[in-house]
């Protein structure tokens, strides 16, 4: 592998199969630069958690390589893992103990000063509940405690697998703001999600995975451009078949049960409305529709676009 010391995570041509012949990762490649908030997007079952477990050294991929700040997480575990705080799927917590006791155990394992417990508890907003048993915690509180555990060693890299799972809207906003603050302090954040809207709000870089392959990797602006290409308007008119025929040579038009979806740039919308009115079509409704993750996947997979 090339010099990867300024790259937080480098994944090269990763292959993994839980059962021989049933590939979950099929040559996945990712590059997470230091200092980024990297959104790792994929539908459920796309291979996000498998990728994260491989990066963390919990799985041993058949082919390909993983580096964390240039270190192999399996063969150089000590130096690789001291730089990482992780929350993998649901947090692993001892329910019969309090939140504080869970953090105390983690502090003891890593020989960290006890003062860190108070700092991370404040950071995730769990001060009022930290002396309660974890069995009495809500899903959101457990998620925050998991985040606090990941932050304990003050690592330069945070790997978070769906960290807003189970949080209410205000909890999601709090976690998002907390991650932004941590990023401003210089931490690299690798964040997986199946929600494009969630990633768009926070990430500076995005990687999209589909069936174990990287379908897109780039900045959020590049993703936006890609999305714009897939955006359009929903039109409700009195003669949908006439309109579909009228536009079919020039535009992509999909009849969705009387409601037409016309792939068109946002700024071309007034011209389209004007044209329809001039032709005597009654326009009842026009609504801009942004491309969502599902459509983006369809586009990426349909066009066969893939990372080299």
């Amino acid at each position: 592998m090339p010099d990867l010391s300024n790259t937080a995570i480098a994944v090269q041509q990763l292959h993994y199969a839980y059962i021989p012949g049933l590939q979950i990762l099929r040559g996945l490649t990712l590059t997470v630069p230091s200092g980024a908030i990297y959104g790792f997007l994929g539908e459920n079952g796309a291979g996000k958690s498998t990728t994260i477990r491989s990066v963390m050294g919990l799985l041993r991929p058949g082919k390909g390589g993983v580096r964390i700040f240039g270190q192999n997480p399996v063969t150089s575990k000590r130096s690789a893992m001291k730089n990482v705080g992780a929350l993998i799927e649901s947090p692993a917590l001892y329910d019969h103990l309090t939140g504080y006791e869970n953090l105390h155990i983690a502090v003891t394992y890593r020989r960290l000063p006890k003062v860190r417990i108070g700092e991370v508890v404040e950071l995730v907003g769990l001060e009022k509940h930290i002396r309660k048993r974890v069995s009495a915690y809500s899903t959101g509180m457990k998620q925050r405690l998991g985040l606090a555990l990941a932050l304990l060693s003050d690592p330069p890299l945070l790997i978070l697998d769906e960290p807003t799972n189970g949080l209410d809207p205000s909890g999601i906003i709090e976690v998002r703001n907390c991650l932004r603050r941590l990023n401003e302090q210089g931490k690299t954040i690798f964040l997986s999600s199946h929600l494009l809207s969630e990633i768009e709000r926070i990430a500076t870089m995005v990687g999209i995975i589909h069936e174990g392959r990287t379908m897109f990797e780039g900045s959020i602006a590049e993703l936006q451009r890609l999305k714009d290409r897939e955006s359009g308007v929903e039109v409700v008119v009195d003669q949908p078949t006439v309109v579909a025929a009228l536009l079919s040579g020039r535009r992509t038009v999909v009849d969705e049960g009387g409601r037409l979806f016309v792939k068109i740039a946002h700024e071309e919308t007034p011209a389209l409305i004007e044209e329809l009115i001039q032709r005597g079509i009654k326009v009842y409704e026009v609504r801009h529709r942004k491309s969502d993750l599902e459509q983006l996947f369809l586009h990426l997979t349909g066009s066969g676009q893939e990372m080299p």
Binding site: L58, R60, R78, A92, Y94, H104
Partner: protein, 264 residues
Amino acid sequence: MIRTWVDSYCAEWMKLRRMPVAWISGLSGVLIAGFLFFVFAFKGDMGSNVPSNPWDGFFALSITVFGMLIGPFIILVTHGVVHLEHQTSSWKSLYTLPFDRAAIFFPKSAVILTLVLSIYVVFGLSILLSGLLLGIVVPSFGFLKYVPEFSFLFNRLAHLFFAGVGMIGLQYWISFRWDNYLVPISIGFIGYLASMFTVGKSDFAFIIPYCYPVFISLGLGSGDIGRIGLEWWGALTNIEGYSFLAFLLFLATGYHQESRKEIR
């Protein structure tokens, strides 16, 4: 490395707070000693048959019974400590800590050894207390007139403890191997039941570590150690030798598997 192992050992202890295994290890010795107290107190002729120092017979019989009953407690303690990690899916956190998996695996086994040892210590103290109480409740037994032979109590319990480490090693490996709660417990209890039927009756018992405490109980308790196949190997018996061997074998096998295991 030693510092990491010590930290890991301390962290393991913290997890045991409010856990049933902590209660089991604390109370099992007291329960067995309490049971023996009532047996002696209400079946008075047992104590009065002792010709001279009543403590000798009391200790010998108590430790024999303790050796027969200790198996299930060792199984529950060993399995409880390991199963906690399966139950909370903690392996993914523990195995991503910045040190080798050995620093989790071996200190955890040391915690179990300490917990089991504490059962023996608590039993030893409880049986002394039981004798004193018997001396008060049934003065005719004469417990208050004689001094207990502490070295006998210590030696016999030490032999029993050494005979138990083989079964700790086996149960530890089994509990790591299966994340299900019932399978390791069932295997353990079947092994323990097998010990009741095979010791002294079948050579098969020598290869089942669950039988080793029963071997020591029956062998040293009867005074005729050769009757069930026990031999002295210096200060220890052959069964204790097999027990240490089994402990090392299962610990090594367990670590070999665990160090390569994928956490899915």
